[in-house]
């Protein structure tokens, strides 16, 4: 449904989006994930023909964003980061206006306005001025506006930003409900949102594509590995950390061990291994070596961790190659 090839956007000096390529299948919900300023909004703006790409291209529903922008625009519903509302309009008047802009008219327009009001639960504020609506309602009117012409593709830029937890849940449910009829790309910097609503996730950072995978796969990746934090000390004080690391690495099932933090005598090591690798072994190994095992606790590994690994500065290269595979 959406195909993005080597999409690039360059502003005066910096590369906002750097040769991004991905595909989105019909009917999928795709989470577009990245820290603030990663290039999510810019990418979405290029998909919606708001910004022309510097190089590369994209097609939406088979139409090129540069060659046939009008055709693309007919098939896309777009909710920008701040819902594009006219404060002096009433809700149904606004939806009627947008419907007309998108090419609807007559009976059909009326029907669609009623339908999206119901669907997005804004029917009770139909005759209220948009400028007086609460943030939650504004967001829902924004969504209603995006689906008014029943587009094939929905592009939602941070649809839950600034909402309270209850509204966030409602909005997520609403988006999930829309998935059947529309292909949806939604951007966010909140991880649980992706876990809860999306099937597919595209992670970008600093304009570069870091990973694209299904949410299930990413979660498996998160669960497949386990890492423990081990604090090892010794009575006489001086303990060479490299020796400890070496010993830890010899434990069966451990794939990686490294010094994480060090405060004088208190060295904390991070030990990674296959899920369920023997903690007993680890404890025994430390004690048998004559060291003190001061602490042994699991380090939290979640999508969050993966996300940080992928987008953080620590080891982006390795992660990127994994992600691209």
């Amino acid at each position: 449904m959406i195909s993005v090839k080597q999409l690039t956007k360059k502003y005066a000096r910096n590369l906002a989006v750097d040769h991004i390529s991905f595909e989105v299948q019909k009917g999928q919900i795709v989470g577009f994930l990245g820290p603030n300023g990663a290039g999510k909004t810019t990418t979405m703006r290029m998909l919606t023909c708001f910004l022309p790409p510097t190089s590369g291209g994209a097609t939406v529903a088979g139409f090129d964003v540069l060659e046939q922008p009008l055709e693309v625009k007919k098939r896309i519903g777009y909710l920008p980061e701040t819902p594009p509302l006219y404060p002096e309009m009433e809700t149904d008047e606004y939806l009627t206006f947008v419907g007309k802009l998108k090419g609807l008219s007559g009976e059909e327009l009326k029907k669609r306005v009623d339908y999206v009001c119901q669907r997005c639960a804004v029917a009770d504020v139909k005759n209220k001025l948009l400028g007086r609506l609460s943030k939650g309602y504004r967001q829902r009117v924004g969504l209603a506006q995006a689906i008014i012409h029943n587009p094939d593709v929905l592009v939602l830029d941070e649809p839950t930003a600034g909402l309270d937890p209850k509204q966030i849940n409602e909005t997520r449910d609403l988006i999930k409900g829309l998935a059947g009829d529309h292909t949806i790309i939604l951007s966010t910097h909140i991880l649980p949102e992706v876990e809860q609503t999306c099937e597919q996730v595209i992670i970008i950072n600093k304009g570069k594509l870091v990973a694209t995978d299904s949410v299930a796969n990413l979660q498996n990746r998160a669960r497949g590995a386990e890492s423990l934090l081990v604090e090892v000390g010794s009575r006489d004080g001086a303990l060479e950390s490299s020796i400890v690391v070496k010993r830890l690495q010899q434990i069966p099932g451990v794939s990686r061990a490294q010094l994480k933090t060090s405060h004088g005598n208190r060295n904390v090591y991070e030990v990674e291994g296959q899920k369920g690798f023997a903690r007993g072994e680890l404890a025994r190994a430390v004690v048998q070596a004559g060291w003190d095992l001061n602490e042994l606790r699991p380090a939290a590994v979640s999508l969050e961790e993966i996300f940080l690994q992928l987008t953080g500065a620590e080891e982006p290269v390795e992660a990127a190659s994994k992600g691209a595979a």
Binding site: C49, L51, P52, Y78, P80, Y86, E88
Partner: protein
């Protein structure tokens, strides 16, 4: 065409649901009313004087009331036009609604013409108030209506040009005040350019004077439809809207 109509209606509506339209209409009606009252008072005084001398001079409503008043309207218009156009794009840019317009299946030019036409319509509404005043002249006197009609045509053409310039300036900023002030400056400059012809006859002075929007109105005020002047205004409209379109495009390349 349908899209222009949609945008036109939306713009006009937003003028009239906010106090802007009413404020402008009221102020304009007040100011013009004052001018009208003065012009009429002067006319009546002149009439009485000529009668007292015992040798009534031929007096002409068109020449002595309508013509100077139309010229006044064209200058008053300069002050009102920035207030009409400043919000057109600046507000959409600030509130982000420009994203809705630009990502809708509608051409930039349709947006621009719709907005400009709405601004021109509001200006025409303001002119309606002047027509109300002139209507009294027809009730109590008998001026010629044709020069008046040509005068109105000239006012609309002149305003069309200045509104197009204002629309263009409104695309350059998110700040309505800046858009308004800049438009006002340009309008004022386009008015006073003509003054150089008062003391200088060199080619550059003639060119400057030619660019003044006021000089081209003189023929219309007289009730003469001069094609050259009409073409001048049409050119200004065209250029204004053309630059608006360019600016909207570059907005997207830059932003």
């Amino acid at each position: 065409m349908r899209n222009i109509w949609i945008i036109w209606r939306k713009e006009l509506r937003s003028y009239f649901v906010s106090p802007i339209a009413y404020l402008l209409l009221t102020m304009f009606a007040l100011i013009f009313g004052f001018f009208f009252w003065n012009a009429l008072g002067y006319f009546v005084m002149m009439g009485m004087e000529s009668q007292m001398r015992g040798q009534p001079m031929p007096m002409n409503l068109n020449e002595e009331v309508i013509r100077p008043l139309l010229s006044n309207v064209s200058v008053i218009g300069l002050f009102f036009i920035p207030m009409i156009t400043m919000r057109l794009f600046a507000e959409e840019k600030r509130s982000g609604t420009i994203e809705l317009l630009v990502t809708s299946p509608i051409r930039d030019l349709e947006i621009i013409i719709g907005k400009w036409a709405a601004a021109l319509t509001l200006y025409a509404c303001m002119l309606l108030f002047t027509a109300l005043n002139f209507a009294f002249l027809f009730k109590y006197g008998n001026p010629d209506w044709k020069p008046l009609a040509i005068g109105y045509l000239g006012l609309l053409l002149q305003a069309g040009g200045l509104l197009a310039i204002g629309t263009f300036i409104s695309t350059l900023t998110k700040n309505q005040i800046i858009a308004g002030a800049a438009t006002f400056g340009v309008c004022l400059l386009l008015w006073v350019l003509e003054w150089v012809s008062g003391y200088e006859t060199a080619v550059w002075a003639q060119v400057l004077a030619y660019m003044s929007v006021i000089t081209h109105f003189e023929s219309f005020a007289k009730g003469v439809l001069d094609v050259k002047d009409a073409i001048f205004y049409l050119t200004v409209i065209f250029l204004g809207l053309f630059f608006t379109a360019r600016s909207m495009e570059s907005l997207r390349w830059r932003s």
